[in-house]
Amino acid sequence: MNWTRLKRREVLSTILIAVAVAITSLTTSSVRDGVAIGVMVAVAIIGIATLTANGLRATHPVLARAALTVVVLDVSLFATYFFSAITNFNLAIGAAMSIVLLGLSFLTGASGQISLGNGAFMGVGALIMGMWANHHTSTPIFITLLIAVAGGAFVGLLLGLPATRLRGPYLAGMTLAFAVAFTAIVNSFSSWTGADAGLQLPTAVTPPHWLSDFFSSQTTLLTVNSMWLADITILVTGVAFFFMANLFASRTGRTMRLIRDNDVAAELVGISLPRARVIAFMVSSAYAALGGALWTLINNSVSPSTYSLALSITILSLVVIGGIGTISGALIGGVIYAYSTNVISWFTAHTGINPQGNLANQLPGIIFGGLLIVTMLFAPMGIVGALRRLWSKRRARTAG
């Protein structure tokens, strides 16, 4: 085995860890949080570096993925104990968002279709969670999540069917129209959905007694509740990513990629194009609905106005910036989403921009939009794609 290459990988990992810790300690609210998050990111990088090495992946792919999932989940759940309430909240929001990003990444990257409506699919899941919890208070959370996923898949079917015949701009436009019409649809069924005003969960999600007893009486209810929400979300996220990783690599995933690259050839080989496209659409909408349902749990309420066209566009931006068609891209996108407000407020504080002024308020939008343009023009495969290209260039250089 090549010792120099291994040493390089470890050195690179250590540098990445140091950088991650530095960045996160600067932008989080306390040193404790900075250290804890830095650790979490670091271990994730190490885990990926270790497990994506040669060998295990080729011979036992599912096992390798499961091992990775378990490692990441383990450390994350351990870490939530130490995080402040706000960090746990942001983490949960970001993790749920990464599920949505994963779904869209699959749709766009694996099957080449574009959707500007995934914010609305999130809203579908979020509303189902809210409505169900208000009418059937005794259903366990995980069952309700599954119901929300099924609902999302169903709506994805409804929209995916007409979408099969549409090319890029028309499909984008149709999903855009759905995103814009979502609020109107919600308002039409106002007696169930609570219309504009939204719905709250009648009882907030709280941890079971045996868990809350672990904490001293000094710890506030808020900290305990937030930790529990973060744990549930992280667990669900891990499961969702595991399934998607296997889907990407499976026969269905390969079918999708063939359709994306050359749909005429796919048809000649006997693949049913409409069916594959609809399945991809349903997967992406199911994932979006799951993310939305988690948001309802975390926020203890659902407001339809959250699931606007602007959110759909944010989702698309994050998928592009993270890297279309990649799993780690979705994770990166989730982290960016969770911490973008922190980073931007840090930025405004240190560059003398008035935090109450117009510029500061529009900065997130301007930066996101700008990143979207720049990424698409110069690095269309996103952060992950750019990193991969760098990696393979270095590999080629050392090998040759």
Binding site: L166, I185, G365, I366, G369
Partner: protein, 299 residues
Amino acid sequence: MDPFLTSRIVSDILTGLTNGVIYGLLALSLVLVWRSTRILNFAQGAMPMLATYVGMVVFAHQLSYWTLVIVSIVAGFAIGGVTERVLVRHLYGKPEINPIVVMVGFLIVLEGVAAAIWSTTPRGTPSPFSPIDWQLNGRPIALSAFSVYEIVTALVVMIGVAALFRFTKLGLQLRASALAPEVSRLLGVRVSRMLTFGWILSTGVGTICTVLVASNFFTGLTPQVMDGIFAFGFIAAAVGGLDSPVGAIVSGVAIGIILQFVGDYVNSNAIMITALIILIISLMVRPNGLFTKSTARRV
């Protein structure tokens, strides 16, 4: 005659017509940019919005309304041309998703910049035409001086664009560059210049549309003012066919009238839902639009 003209049905038709010409104008600008460069410009509402801000806000002191309009349109030409040269150049020939994502990003940036500079408070620049409906024997008819101004302006623009394409050499060159760029180049047409001109023209048309919206006393100018109109304009363009200017205008007016009836006889939520249903049905029946001859895809 009077009761007929002020009846609910005629009022809805007239109001729908007034709204519809706005949608039709935006749809026309979308079609122009698609036909000349094969790109669906999601920022087709935001670029004119910026131009209108430049005209109506930056130059607002002491100048007359008409001067501000001209300034806005010129700004629109400039923004269209610059965008094509600097941004869109890099998008030709790339996968379909690239221009969509870039233009969406551009849309967000433009709205953010406009809000950062001029805030989101609505700005009014009322036109010299009164928006109060005319009265016929004490009952309102759904027309005012302002709505007539909108309809006439839209008609003039549509006829002007049609004339440009049909009767001038420039129009011929534009059509040729879009349909057969290599052949046109061989024949001496400056294709890249034509592409830029396509964007200049479409942004100009979009700016006229935005100026009409911004001069409306009851609407005013905000960074998001064109969002809703873009949605309806896009639906009109998609239903009519992105290749068909006539389709864009006819669909725009038809959609404006249909949605007005829906809003009046059902409720306001049904408006957007109906628009979505119209779009889905039309795309399922004729994926390339109602007014385009269906073309086979090159394999």
